[in-house]
């Protein structure tokens, strides 16, 4: 192989040890217009080796091959397992983003376990991404680039079984059993009917609005 550009790309990707943006890689080579083709060539070259070239989002990196997971457990640094709740919450956000907390709760049929969202955010897999224009302007949550990278996805459209879920109507943000909570609310209303009106002491302590 005599292509100097390929050698340069390999060396940089190898030495950096972290995903690199295609645009930054371009800067390093001569035939800048060839960048995609060259990267593709390298990818093919390593296809069946112990190291693979992977693209996630717009970034490229060398990683150990997927099928060697069992042989490489010595390198494993993941210490804690995600809870089932956190994992379900993460998947719902991934497929339904951007989504509000109460929409997530509606799907799971349970109030968000404490720590779920902040925990996922601490790991760096989700982020707030704007607010929904409904009363209360609740925060919308989305996944991050790090999520895409960590789960080895090319992009969000690469999420497994997405079409299937869509076809089944499970990606509609339909409040399925809003009816249940409606009922619960009705009960509340009936109970407090005996002219004991509730004080409207809502606890809104909205810091941003105060400032």
């Amino acid at each position: 192989m005599d292509n100097k550009d390929i050698k340069i790309l390999e060396a940089i990707l190898f030495a950096s040890g972290e995903p690199l943006d295609e645009n930054d890689l371009k800067e390093k080579i001569k035939e800048k217009n060839n960048i995609s083709k060259l990267l593709q060539e390298i990818k093919v070259f390593y296809k069946n080796r112990g190291i693979n070239l992977i693209k996630t989002g717009n970034k490229w990196s060398f990683r150990t091959a997927e099928d060697l997971s069992d042989e490489l457990t010595i390198f494993k640094t993941q210490k804690r397992k995600l809870s089932r709740a956190a994992l379900e919450t993460l998947s719902i956000i991934a497929y339904q983003q951007p989504i509000t907390r109460s929409e997530i709760e509606n799907i799971r049929g349970v109030q968000m376990g404490r720590g779920s969202l902040d925990h996922l955010m601490e790991i760096g897999w989700i982020r707030p991404s704007g607010r929904k224009s409904i009363p209360g302007k609740p925060t919308l949550w989305s996944t991050t680039d790090l999520f895409v990278e960590h789960f080895g996805l090319n992009s969000l459209s690469d999420l497994p079984n997405k079409d299937e879920l869509k076809a089944s109507g499970f990606l509609d943000k339909r409040a399925a059993i809003a009816t249940i909570s409606d009922l619960a609310k009705n009960d509340e209303n009936l109970q407090s009917n005996d002219n004991l009106e509730q004080d409207d002491e809502n606890n809104i302590d909205d810091f941003i609005q105060n400032t």
């Binding site: 030495a15 040890g17 009816t179 109970q191």
Partner: protein, 256 residues
């Protein structure tokens, strides 16, 4: 993964069991799977029975059950009764069929996402299954400092400030004018003789001090709790003819 078998329920670990579920719908889903048919074919009426039995058995062993489980039990009872009725006029804004459909949808959707979350987590994860590596030895390296503090750090930091500013420096417990259950029990015992006929519960409680709603509420609720206590001990009888209807109270002359 979660297996609710009879043996599990009979053995002592039962009281830990509810903690295995992520809420009522999750429990329902596990029960539904035990019917071993496609979720769209499950019998909602049977499912309602299963759920209510489960909750009742659970309650025998472990008194505290989160309110949302109880709300679900009540809702299922309601749904079941609606399903049993002949298909008649619309009582509510939803027909029984619509409610049944909504429940099935909710179950199927949750199942779909539970499966997805397993699929996603079984993907090759960085630092669990696949690894970055390499060494920059042999190449010239220049470093730029990159501050990695992220939004999480920022919010955590701000939350710490909010928390520490909220910390109570000195706690003073103020005298409460709320009406206590003890007071109510004493008072009700004092007027037993007068309540020989069914009397509206609201008429036996002291005049409400209209100025303060909170105190009014406390009077009503402590009298209600007191009357439950007294009826449990056999001093009085209580009845309510319909849901949310008036509550009636009567002295039980055969009581202690």
């Amino acid at each position: 993964m979660l297996n609710v078998s009879d043996t599990e329920i009979k053995e002592g670990q039962f009281n830990l069991l509810l903690g295995n579920f992520e809420g009522p719908i999750d429990l329902l889903l596990v029960l539904a799977r035990s019917q071993k048919v496609d979720l769209s074919d499950i019998s909602i009426s049977e499912l309602a029975d299963q759920y209510i039995n489960f909750i009742n058995q659970y309650r025998n062993i472990h008194i505290e059950i989160a309110a949302d489980y109880l709300v679900m039990a009540a809702w299922l009872t309601y749904l079941k009764s609606r399903l049993l009725l002949p298909k008649e006029e619309k009582i509510d804004e939803y027909t029984a069929d619509e409610l049944e459909e909504a429940l099935k949808y909710q179950l199927q959707r949750l199942e779909a996402f539970q499966n997805i979350s397993k699929i996603i987590y079984s993907r090759p994860l960085v630092n669990r299954d696949v690894f970055y590596g390499g060494s920059s030895e042999g190449l010239k390296v220049k470093y730029n400092i990159n501050y990695t503090s992220n939004l999480y750090d920022l919010l955590k930091s701000y939350s710490q400030i909010l928390k520490s500013n909220e910390q109570v420096k000195q706690l003073t417990i103020e005298y409460s004018e709320l009406y206590s259950v003890d007071q109510a029990v004493k008072r009700l015992k004092g007027i037993f003789g007068n309540i020989t006929e069914w009397t509206n519960f609201l008429n036996v409680i002291p005049n409400l001090i209209k100025a303060n709603k909170t105190i009014n509420k406390s009077i009503i609720s402590s009298n209600f709790v007191a009357s439950l206590e007294l009826s449990k001990n056999g001093f009085i009888d209580l009845k309510q003819d319909e849901s949310f209807g008036n509550i009636y109270i009567k002295f039980n002359q055969y009581g202690q």
